[in-house]
């Protein structure tokens, strides 16, 4: 099936972005409206395509659109082609839907910013790039979107780049992402060298013929790409700093959509990972490490956005874990991705709403008791909270429990280890999210009298409310009759082998709930019952201190990569000057030196010249004589 409308999904926001950027200050008055309209337009097209898709039979649902031949050299043929299938439509609707809501939210949130037009231009650019990422029909097209969202993310993190730390955060994000991108380009190169094609369809078709070694290499490289974009261990360090961007950005890019691109990549490449068990295991392990890593950092953060960012990292860890569990887990990874898109975006918007009312204060130790002043924010945030810690029947319960269950049932020690990690993560999640809610909304007020907390305008709370509905209902809808799993089945191919269950779903749910209750209870005891000091106490254990320093991720990167790199650069600069250019200058010196040495023979005395001529003549005659002898 082909469709002629796919390109407009990308073209609309791209056009919006270009218009807003080129129009300059003239567009300040209506720029935000245009941006929102473009995003909304893309959402409408997405809905239209979705409805068309529903009307077709399962095999006929995927549609493609070939625009033109992009790169064609020898056997390297890449079309500018788009593909919309059951997997990408989920993303299209999430990106455009949540994206539009966040556009609306930003109209109010950014209303006092002089550069609001530019902000909307970047947002539109992001939407376009992200849509290209999920619609591209080959790895190379995906790569364009992949770096495109990286660029948009860079621009938006550094939106207030007049502050040097924010500019550094933006640069850090870009560079970390580039390390991941290196993995993606290597994966594409290996795929082309082994399979002779880089399109999804082609790779899927040929993958069975390739050696496991090659597929493992491709898989590992794709995983590297995913760790960069999705802030997974060991490339996770940029996400916390990325909170420098305006809060709507954090909600859209660094919670709901862009950071989940890694999960999309792995799920999209299921045919590679399913044929390369080692790579798949690596995916699961990385996911498990990150979900604990992020959760632990989350417990120690006082900055509300950074706590949420750590939570995002952890939740994406769940998704990656799910995707690393193979055919049994893909659908749940995507489900968790979608539900997370709702509740995390909602909570970020909630955090933005709190900051909006609190003069951009982000330190939760200076909040407290805000539920009275911001009832709507509290309600929506609370629903998101219930969803993320996995209380039934909220969304997170369905998606997260499924991942834990699949992990346990993965078999052997692997299953038990991964399952336990996921369970433990759930408990820690409950703890730190409860902490966030208590510090922000419960307890006594700890803010200055200068602050006048107030509820945000309707343009801000409406998106939050809509997302909260998603946090409540989406899990239920997706699991009802296994709807999402069946929907995605043609893309991710379910495993026909049904492995023995280690734990029954009910057991997992009960276990998880108990642990969640433990986490919540601990947080309540620790934070609700006690006075919260305005400044974080310093006489804490070494573990707390390490957790506050983001588990030393930055210290490690600085010591190992930054310092070495800087030293290497300095050494090379010196080498270039002294040795390589030194050799060149040495030759020049040599010529100069020999010239001035020979100059001394030019005494200026005619008679000595005559002498030299005579000696030369005699020498010449002698030489001729010797030669002819």
């Amino acid at each position: 099936m082909t469709s002629n409308y796919l390109v407009y999904l990308i073209a609309l926001p791209l056009l919006g972005s270009a218009l807003l950027l080129f129009a300059g200050r003239k567009a300040d008055k209506w720029g935000h409206l245009l941006g929102t309209a473009m995003s909304g337009g893309a959402f409408v097209i997405g809905l239209y395509e979705f409805s068309q898709m529903l009307g077709r039979s399962t095999e006929q649902r995927a549609v493609t659109q070939k625009l033109f031949s992009w790169i064609s050299v020898g056997s390297f043929q890449v079309d500018a082609g788009l593909m919309l299938d059951q997997l990408s439509i989920c993303f299209v609707l999430l990106i455009t839907g949540v994206g539009t809501l966040i556009h609306i939210y930003s109209i109010a949130y950014m209303s006092h910013d002089l550069d609001r037009r530019r902000f909307f231009a970047y947002l539109n650019l992001f939407i376009a790039a992200m849509l290209l990422l999920v619609l591209g029909d080959s790895y190379l097209n995906l790569y364009v979107g992949w770096e495109g969202v990286g660029l948009a993310s860079y621009l938006l993190i550094g939106f207030w780049n007049q502050k040097p730390t924010y500019a550094t955060a933006a640069k850090k994000a870009f560079v970390a992402n580039r390390v991941g991108d290196m993995g993606l380009s290597l994966a594409i190169m290996i795929a082309f060298a082994t399979l002779g094609t880089v399109s999804f369809a082609g790779v899927k078709e040929q993958a069975s013929q390739a050696s496991t070694g090659a597929l493992t290499a491709i898989g590992i490289m794709l995983l590297v790409a995913a760790t960069g974009k999705s802030a997974q261990f060991p490339l996770q360090a940029w996400l916390g700093d990325a909170m420098a961007g305006p809060t709507p950005v954090s909600a859209l890019i660094h919670a709901a959509t862009m950071v989940t691109a890694g999960v999309y990549l792995i799920t999209r490449s299921n045919f590679i990972f399913d044929a390369a068990p080692t790579a798949q295991l690596c995916v699961a392990i990385i996911g498990a490490i990150t979900l604990l890593f992020g959760a632990i950092i989350g417990t120690a953060k006082d900055d509300i956005k950074k706590a949420l960012a750590a939570s995002t990292m952890s939740q994406i860890g769940y998704m990656v874990l799910g995707a690393g569990l193979g055919p049994a887990g893909y659908a749940f990874a995507i489900m968790h991705l979608l539900t997370h898109g709702f509740f995390k975006a909602g909570m970020f918007l909630g955090a933005g709403s709190v900051m909006h009312g609190m003069d951009d204060e982000v330190n939760m130790r200076r909040y407290g008791g805000l539920s009275k002043f911001m009832p709507i924010t509290f309600a929506t945030f609370g629903l998101g909270y219930l969803a993320i810690i996995g209380v039934p029947p909220f969304a997170g319960f369905y998606s997260k429990d499924k991942i834990i269950e699949v992990a346990f049932n993965a078999g052997g020690i692997k299953g038990i280890t991964l399952g336990c990690a996921a369970l433990l993560g759930a408990a820690i999640t409950a703890f730190y999210m409860t902490r966030v809610v208590i510090l922000t909304f419960a307890g006594s007020k700890r803010w200055d009298d200068k602050a006048h907390p107030h509820e945000s305008p309707v343009l801000m709370w409406l998106p939050m409310a809509l997302l909260a509905i998603g946090s409540v209902a989406s899990g239920f809808i997706f699991t009802r009759g296994n709807s999402l799993k069946n929907w995605l089945a043609p893309v991710v191919e379910q495993s026909p082998v049904h492995e023995g269950e280690l734990l029954k779903p009910e057991v997992v749910s009960v276990l998880a709930l108990v642990l969640v209750l433990l986490g919540v209870g601990l947080a309540v005891v620790k934070y609700l019952r006690k006075e919260i000091p305005l400044v974080a106490p310093t006489n804490v254990s070494i573990f707390t201190r390490i957790a506050r320093r983001d588990l030393l991720q930055d210290d490690f990167n600085e010591a190992v990569f930054m310092k070495t790199g800087q030293k290497l650069t300095k050494a090379l600069v010196v080498t270039d000057k002294s040795i390589i250019d030194g050799a060149v200058r040495g030759v020049a010196k040599l010529v100069q030196g020999s010239g001035s040495a020979l100059r001394t023979t030019q005494t200026g005395f005619v008679r000595s010249y005559a002498m030299w001529i005579l000696i030369g003549a005699i020498g010449l005659v002698a030489a001729i004589w010797v030669v002819t002898l």
Binding site: Q602, F605, R607, A610, L614
Partner: protein, 99 residues
């Protein structure tokens, strides 16, 4: 008479001229020594012409004479000019181009 003897005279004259050029300071004397060398060469040319029985050497000798004449004209002019400006005919004094 053996023609080789003329060549010996020529070589002797040339050597005297060469030594003169190298050891004497006075420009005029140096100049005369150069003339001596030229004439030694002329003698050798004529002798060879005689030995080989053709006129090539004699023709060359005429050329040499013409060149020598030109050289005298230019050379003497230079020497006189130098003498006028520097009040000296010593060749060692004319080493200003060194620097």
């Amino acid at each position: 008479m053996n023609a080789a003897n003329y060549l010996y005279v020529s070589a002797l004259l040339f050597t005297i001229g060469a030594i003169g050029v190298v050891v004497r300071r006075n420009a005029i004397v140096v100049f005369m020594c150069v003339e001596l060398m030229l004439n030694a060469a002329n003698l050798a040319f004529v002798t060879f012409a005689r030995i080989n029985g053709n006129l090539d050497g004699q023709v060359m000798a005429f050329f040499t004479m013409v060149v020598a004449a030109c050289e005298v004209v230019v050379g003497l002019a230079i020497i006189v000019t130098i003498y006028r400006s520097r009040r000296s005919a010593s060749v060692d004094d004319a080493s200003l181009l060194k620097r």
